[in-house]
């Protein structure tokens, strides 16, 4: 299922409600009802809209953001917004091009992206390893799970001072903070997915002589994959959030560094550019997660289509 059709399905009920508000002809119209029995064409009566709009759904959904930007631009041009605290979209876009032209923006984005990827790699590896050990073995559960619950209960960013004490103020505490957030999100979801694999399928597999190894590779891990992907999606969000906190520690480069510089020199336009960058990176991460789900869970698609 494409993202566009997914959103179509999720908004179908909203469309149906909107259709309800239209003319519900409860009384038969004699001119179009020669039988006089009060019979009606069922196609005009349903709460399901007859045909979808010809404009693609994703384009329709762009309406909200576009309207917001237009209103923002109009209010800025009318000088209702103070240009010093709320520069208009055109100004922000211009600033973005200047920063791109000097190569400054790319360098900082790459520095931040590098940290996030590094943190993701370490965090996903640790989270999955931990979830496998505690999901598949009783001793692993006893050893790991309660500790992860405790880690989960503490707000991750409260660990920052400790990470600085351990790793100094270089790259390590930044990557460590991102890894920690990612690891917890991946662990919690993957572990519970492993433990919640349909018991009737496990029972069926056992009756067919499936050994421990095949049980894990052919039943439990594929069954837990959807849960892992939910964890990965949350981890991507958590990684960008952790990045903002991590880059408040003495970062020579990165989006956080730009943000604190902009704050210092009161460059509100730069701050808006950075907010836009965070939004784009976040949306891109979600798109990546959706892409992975579509690729890895193709066996599910058949179900959606049925």
């Amino acid at each position: 299922m494409t993202p566009a059709s997914a959103s179509l399905a999720s908004t179908a009920s909203v469309d149906a409600l909107a259709a309800c508000e239209g003319d519900l002809a409860w009384e038969a119209d004699r001119s179009t009802d020669p039988t006089g029995l009060g019979l009606v064409d069922p196609r005009t009566q349903g709460i399901v809209p007859a045909a979808a709009s010809r404009v693609p759904r994703w384009l329709q959904r762009l309406l909200g953001p576009v309207a917001l930007i237009v209103a923002w631009q109009v209010l800025s041009m009318a000088e209702i917004f103070d240009a010093r605290t709320t520069p208009g979209p055109a100004t922000v876009l211009n600033t973005a091009f200047v920063m791109l032209g000097s190569g400054e923006l790319q360098a900082h984005v790459l520095a931040s992206l590098g940290r996030v990827l590094h943190g993701l790699a370490v965090g996903v590896a640790l989270g999955v390893a931990g979830a496998l050990v505690s999901g598949l073995t009783r001793w692993g559960e006893n050893l790991i799970d309660a500790n992860m619950e405790i880690l989960h209960a503490v707000p991750n960013f409260a660990f920052l001072p400790v990470l600085i004490a351990w790793f100094g103020i270089g790259e390590e505490p930044k990557v460590a903070l991102i890894s920690l957030s990612v690891c917890i999100a991946v662990y919690i979801n993957t572990y519970s997915a492993i433990r919640n694999v349909d018991a009737s399928l496990v029972e069926a597999a056992r009756t067919f002589g499936v050994g421990r190894r095949e049980l894990i590779t052919a039943v439990i891990l594929p069954g837990a994959l959807p849960g892992f992907l939910v964890g990965l999606r949350l981890a991507l969000t958590a990684a960008w959030l952790a990045l903002i906190f991590a880059e408040t520690i003495n970062a020579p480069a990165g989006l956080g560094r730009m943000m604190s510089d902009a704050r210092e020199y009161f460059r509100v336009d730069v701050i808006f550019v950075l907010l836009g960058i965070y939004a784009l990176l976040g949306l891109f991460s979600l798109a990546l997660a959706r892409f992975l789900e579509a690729r890895l869970l193709s066996w599910r698609r058949a179900f959606d289509g049925a």
Partner: protein, 245 residues
């Protein structure tokens, strides 16, 4: 108590199933009470009973899915179970579902394909299970059971969730598979007609013990219009507490 119960379930000669004085209780509620059943190799036995009579519990005991039970129980090593729901792994292809638990070799693959052909699903070997209809999924479940050449086939209301037309076709398919492979079959069902159509012997389980054992002496092709069919049907229904008229 045990002495008062006649040994309806026992037979002579070589055996595929021997279960003597099987007892099981959930807390203080007895589910199986001194139940005895013997089955000959290649014998097709249908086990009827109202819900809660313990018939599925007994099948699970024979299928090694429930070990918390007392009594003497012997079953063949090669067993296969078909449940009411197909229980296919949705992330494995139809063929891989059939060969689950077997050594993954080219020979197994060929056998899996041949068994799928027997249930008429050769061309769906690479399909995802969720693209199958309910009847097709249950045919895959049958193929998954038969590919192991079981000496004992345990069927736990395998057609209970299917529509009436599909069920008729599944009866024919099961009869066909049975005649070709000749395993001992224990079919748990609450469908009296299904039991008479398919089985050599019909048992009625009432409150955890066998209350009736009747050989099916309706000549093939068995037809509901045969008076012997109707007579047995009436007898079984009345044993199940249903007034046929």
């Amino acid at each position: 108590m045990a002495l008062e119960q006649p040994d309806f379930g026992t037979v002579g000669g070589p055996l595929a199933v021997q279960a003597l004085d099987v007892r099981k209780a959930f807390r203080d509620h007895a589910v199986l009470r001194d139940l005895s059943l013997e089955m000959r190799p290649s014998e097709f036995v249908a086990l009827l009973g109202r819900s809660g009579s313990g018939k599925s519990t007994f099948l699970r005991v024979l299928g090694a899915l429930d070990a918390e039970v007392e009594g003497h129980i012997r079953v063949p090593r090669r067993r296969a179970v078909v449940f009411q729901d197909p229980r296919l792994m949705p992330w494995l292809s139809v063929l891989r579902n059939v060969t689950l638990g077997l050594p993954q070799t080219q020979e197994t693959r060929q056998r899996g394909l041949a068994t799928l052909a027997e249930v008429g699903l050769h061309d769906r070997a690479q399909a995802w299970p969720r693209t199958l209809s309910g009847g097709e999924a249950q045919r895959v479940a049958l193929a998954r059971a038969m590919v192991r050449e079981p000496q004992l086939l345990l069927l736990d209301e395998p057609f209970g969730a299917l529509d009436a037309l599909t069920r008729i076709r599944m009866h024919a398919l099961l009869k066909d598979l049975y005649q070709r492979h000749r395993p001992a079959v224990l079919l748990v069902t609450h469908d009296v007609d299904e039991a008479i159509l398919l089985a050599d012997r019909v048992l009625v389980l009432t409150e955890g013990r066998i209350s009736l054992s009747a050989p099916v002496e309706v000549p093939a092709p068995r037809s509901r219009s045969d008076p012997r069919f109707a007579a047995l049907r009436r007898r079984l229904l009345s044993e199940l507490g249903v007034d046929a008229d």
